[in-house]
């Protein structure tokens, strides 16, 4: 495959490469190295963005213009954002960056123009919450061909200069110097069923269970909250399924292969409504009546997901929040993302018990009465 300073394949990177491949890219690389199946792909590294930015700076300043803004001056901020975004989206790419991306894309898609990819921003901030507030969570699904891919990579870069992103940086006094963005380009899985899972209970924080949520079609419907997913709680160690909630699943996201077009399905945003653009993108369609109340996963698949969840958590050594998909063609499980669970992990919980000088004194919790 071969890589450059501008592009890295997943198998070449891990979490420690985060400063140059971002959180998403680093995590996908880490998963692949740990032997967990992820759809193949590459990361357009921050160096590619920086190389491009240097080119742009040579024309007229970018970073200095942002730093000169006042966070309250919304009018100037909006005008600046518009100008900078347009430059990122339209200025010619440096030849070496262009060549690196095109070459990697060709390898990934085996030179087939119809091979769909997902293009997703991969922020370098330490904290996922930061990235979320800064609007750096773009995901473009079912992107077809090299031209669309390049366009979507630029869209991801350009989001650094969105109004919300700029104002977040200004109000948090973040220096423009360190601002960079990596972009993940990954083969797209046409999933029969997809969803998320947590390696603990979101309601009790219990680490001995895995909570799985899934629905028909692409995972964007679940992540975006457009459908009430089926839900299972399964014993992480025992495999006992203690909760099965099968919901009415009215819609599903599918590739808009015939009519859609490069729809931005940013997490939380609507994915439909781009009916007449060129090929590509996804759309929401009704789920066939007979599947609406049917479980979208078999018990075997639940057990297989549990096994994957366990090995991912083991690999990272802490509870994870995972996006998964089941390939419509092969039936295999693929992971699209794994990040550390933050809600329960951030809580300071009282230990269930502390070791006692006299181990027998533990029984007083039963015999000693209520305190």
């Amino acid at each position: 495959m071969g890589s450059s300073t501008h592009v890295s394949w997943f198998e070449e990177i891990g979490l420690h490469d985060r400063p140059h491949v971002g959180g998403k890219g680093g995590s996908l690389g880490e998963l692949q190295r740990a032997g967990i199946a992820v759809p193949p792909g590459f990361v357009v590294r921050t160096q590619a963005f920086e190389r491009f930015l240097a080119e742009l700076e040579r024309g007229s300043p970018m970073r200095a213009r942002v730093q000169a803004l006042h966070p309250e001056d919304l009018e100037a901020l909006t005008a600046c954002s518009k100008t900078l975004r347009a430059r990122v989206e339209e200025a010619p790419l440096p030849a070496d960056v262009l060549a690196a991306i095109l070459s990697a894309h060709a390898t990934l898609c085996r030179d087939e123009a119809r091979t769909p990819v997902a293009v997703r921003s991969s922020a370098t901030t330490e904290d996922a919450v930061d990235a979320s507030f800064a609007g750096l969570q773009d995901t473009y699904l079912w992107v077809l061909g090299a031209d669309q891919t390049l366009e979507r990579v630029r869209s991801c870069w350009a989001s650094l200069y969105s109004v919300e992103s700029i104002s977040y940086r200004l109000s948090h006094r973040m220096p423009e110097e360190g601002v960079a963005m990596a972009v993940v380009v990954q083969r797209m899985v046409d999933s029969r069923t997809a969803g998320v899972m947590f390696t603990r209970s979101p309601t009790t924080g219990d680490r001995s269970v895995v909570t799985i949520e899934g629905s028909w079609g692409l995972g964007s419907a679940v992540v975006g909250g457009e459908v009430t997913p089926d839900r299972w709680v399964v014993g992480k160690i025992t495999g006992d399924i203690s909760v099965r909630e099968i919901s009415e699943k009215a819609i599903q996201h599918v590739p808009a292969a015939l009519r859609g077009g490069g729809t931005a399905a940013a997490a939380g945003g609507p994915a439909s409504g781009a009916a007449s653009a060129p090929a590509g993108g996804i759309e929401a369609v009704p789920v066939p009546q007979e599947l609406r109340r049917a479980a979208c996963l078999s018990d075997e698949e639940i057990q297989a997901l549990r096994a994957v969840a366990r090995s991912v958590e083991r690999h990272y050594g802490r509870p994870q929040d995972i996006e998964w998909a089941i390939d419509r063609r092969t039936g295999g499980i693929l992971l699209l993302q794994s990040r550390p669970e933050t809600v329960w992990s951030a809580m300071k919980s009282r230990p269930a018990a502390r070791p006692a000088d006299n181990p027998l004194s533990h029984v007083m919790s039963i015999f000693g009465g209520r305190r």
Binding site: R207, I237, H362, S365, G368
Partner: protein
């Protein structure tokens, strides 16, 4: 949902009436266990776990002896800080019990100091004390086995005269009866010597697991501490061994469904050396492993495998088929042990801190230390000894029936144990003075009356609890032994409202989901109706039912917790099971299709 539970409490004891026409049968129970007005101030619950059916007058001895021993262990020996013993009452043959809580903080503190000296000593020296316990228990069993046969010869044997024995045969009746009774009361002291401490150590670990893993199943914690070579598995292992030996000896063709055990034994005796060799193997298994009752051992009619070989023999054809299919049928102890260790290690790894792991290690070590007793004592106490006891009483029944006191030996169980002593003395007197005994005119009418009362009581529902609902149940004995909590009481109060639902909730005992036809089995005599793939629905099971589990696809019981026999055996066989549903045998009709979700503890009636 906002309605306060005190608005609905349970009926007061004084509002219960003895069923008309059964007053004299009710009066057969001792005065100190009859309800009085003073009992209205306390909370009582029906002990349907141990006494699911009305108790005959004699069988009440079990409640008397057991609560006497349980109470002394709690109150006087180990000095449990927050509880004394259990009071019991009986009405319409149903046993109600109530805890005697200690609530004064100063008294709790005083008892805590005592408890820590006493209970901690037991925990520290558990292995030695438990080894000693087994010796004591085996000695008690040997003593019971050595009691003389009951004989009243016309003339005292000449050798007794020549030996200058000086005591006539009638005296040995009283001596033997009193020793029989004394042994039973003593056995219950042994039974409770470790029980609360053992359960307490287990509950300590359980409570920790629930705190650390709020969604952990009770059956998972049970699997972490369960023994591998516990006595509870032995009777079934012996039946498997006998099936294997039958194949090895080439006599397996003798075991076919529907042939009575006696006929099989007779034909094996005629089958030459291999048949006789198998019968020797049978004898080796019977003593002691077939001393298991087909019930919990609290009723005289729960007979043992040794009394009725039909249960173990019914299982042999199925096991023979599996042996011939190449299965070893042997439980792989090493593998089970490895799995248990892995389970413990896996949960340990999930704990958040090293501190929690250290506490986990301490607690599971103690749970493992106490568990052999928790699992093992029932075989020696409730099964082996109880069986010897009731059979000895049965001998008295046969003797008295032979002298016209009863129509049948089994009638003896309609007398309470004080009355039985009087009947024995009546016989002793009559044998000595040559006059006819008075019993034949006295007892048959009373026995008939009591049998009729038992039948009437069995058809009559009784409230699950009586009296004011306590705000909190803080009595470790009641929580541990009966699983009664404030939440379970609220559920009982709600029962009337849920009766129309087609769902039953119980303890999740062994995970898995299975659908199939329900076979509602109310007594052991009915087990022959069970066919492959049926779901067993019964009140309660015990070790003698284990061989049945090879046929069924799931199991449901009215009574029992996650450490109950059904739960343990179902996990062993990998079958879904829900235990302690309260009402499965009354709400599920024989032949109905049901779904058993053993992981969630839910049984659904599908049609």
């Amino acid at each position: 949902m906002s309605s306060k539970p005190e608005a609905k409490g349970f009926p007061l004891p004084s509002s219960l009436t003895v069923l008309p026409g059964t007053e004299r049968a009710q009066a057969a129970y001792p005065y100190f266990i009859q309800f009085t007005r003073a009992d209205d101030d306390r909370f009582w619950f029906y002990n349907s776990m141990h006494f699911p059916e009305p108790m005959s007058a004699f069988d009440m001895v079990t409640a008397e002896a057991a609560y006497c021993a349980l109470g002394s262990s709690n109150t006087r020996v180990h000095c449990l800080p927050t509880t004394l013993g259990i009071d019991h009452r009986i009405i319409n043959g149903r046993v109600y019990i109530g805890g005697n809580a200690v609530t004064d903080p100063a008294e709790i503190a005083r008892r805590t100091a005592e408890f820590q000296q006493r209970a901690f000593y037991y925990y520290e020296h558990w292995e030695r004390l438990y080894a000693q316990w087994r010796e004591k228990m085996l000695q008690l069993i040997r003593d019971a086995q050595a009691l003389p046969r009951l004989e009243l010869p016309e003339f005292e044997p000449l050798e007794h005269v020549r030996a200058g024995r000086g005591i006539a045969s009638n005296h040995w009746l009283l001596d033997t009866y009193q020793k029989t009774l004394e042994g039973y009361f003593r056995m219950w002291h042994h039974h409770f010597e470790f029980l609360l401490l053992g359960y307490g150590a287990y509950m300590t670990f359980f409570a920790f697991c629930k705190q650390a893993f709020p969604e952990i199943g009770e059956q998972t914690v049970a699997r972490m501490v369960a023994g591998i070579e516990a006595e509870i598995f032995r009777p079934d292992e012996e039946v498997r061994r006998l099936a294997r030996r039958a194949v090895e000896l080439g006599v397996e063709g003798q075991f076919r469904d529907g042939i009575p055990a006696a006929a099989i034994i007779a034909s094996l005796e005629r089958a030459g050396p291999p048949g006789r060799e198998w019968l020797r193997e049978l004898e080796a298994s019977r003593d002691p492993w077939f001393n298991v009752n087909v019930g919990d051992g609290f009723y005289h009619y729960h007979r043992s495998w040794n009394d009725d070989l039909s249960m173990p023999f019914a299982a042999i054809p199925g096991y023979v088929g599996r042996v011939k299919a190449g299965e070893s049928l042997q439980r792989d102890h090493a593998k089970l042990k490895t799995e248990r260790e892995q389970l413990i290690a896996d949960y340990r790894e999930l704990l958040a801190t090293e501190e929690e792991r250290a506490a986990y290690d301490q607690m599971i070590q103690l749970a493992h230390r106490v568990f052999p007793y928790v699992e093992g004592h029932k075989f020696y106490c409730e099964h082996w000894y109880t069986n010897l006891f009731f059979n000895k009483i049965r001998e008295f029944g046969a003797l008295l029936a032979g002298h016209g006191f009863f129509l049948a030996a089994e009638d003896v169980f309609q007398l309470n144990h004080y009355e039985l002593e009087s009947a024995i003395i009546d016989l002793m007197t009559s044998w000595s003075n040559g006059s006819p005994p008075r019993g034949p005119q006295h007892w048959p009418r009373i026995v008939a009356e009591r049998r009729a009362a038992l039948a009437a009581w069995a058809k009559h529902d009784t409230p699950p609890a009586l009296g004011p609902v306590p705000d909190v149940i803080d009595d470790p004995a009641i929580v541990m032994l009966w699983g009664i909590t404030r939440e379970s009481l609220d559920a009982w109060l709600a029962v009337g409202r849920e009766a129309s639902s087609n769902e039953l909730k119980g303890f999740a005992a062994s995970s898995g989901v299975v659908e199939g036809p329900a076979r509602v089995v109310k007594s052991v005599e009915e087990i022959s109706r069970i066919e492959k793939g049926d779901i067993l629905v019964c009140q309660i099971t015990n070790p003698t039912w284990a061989p049945l589990f090879q046929k069924i696809s799931a199991a449901v019981s009215d009574i029992g917790g996650s450490m109950s026999h059904m739960a343990i055996v179902a996990r062993e066989f990998g079958l879904p099971a829900v235990v302690g549903t309260g009402s499965a045998t009354t709400r599920i009709k024989d032949g109905q299709r049901i779904r058993v979700d053993g992981g969630r503890g839910i049984v659904t009636i599908l049609q």
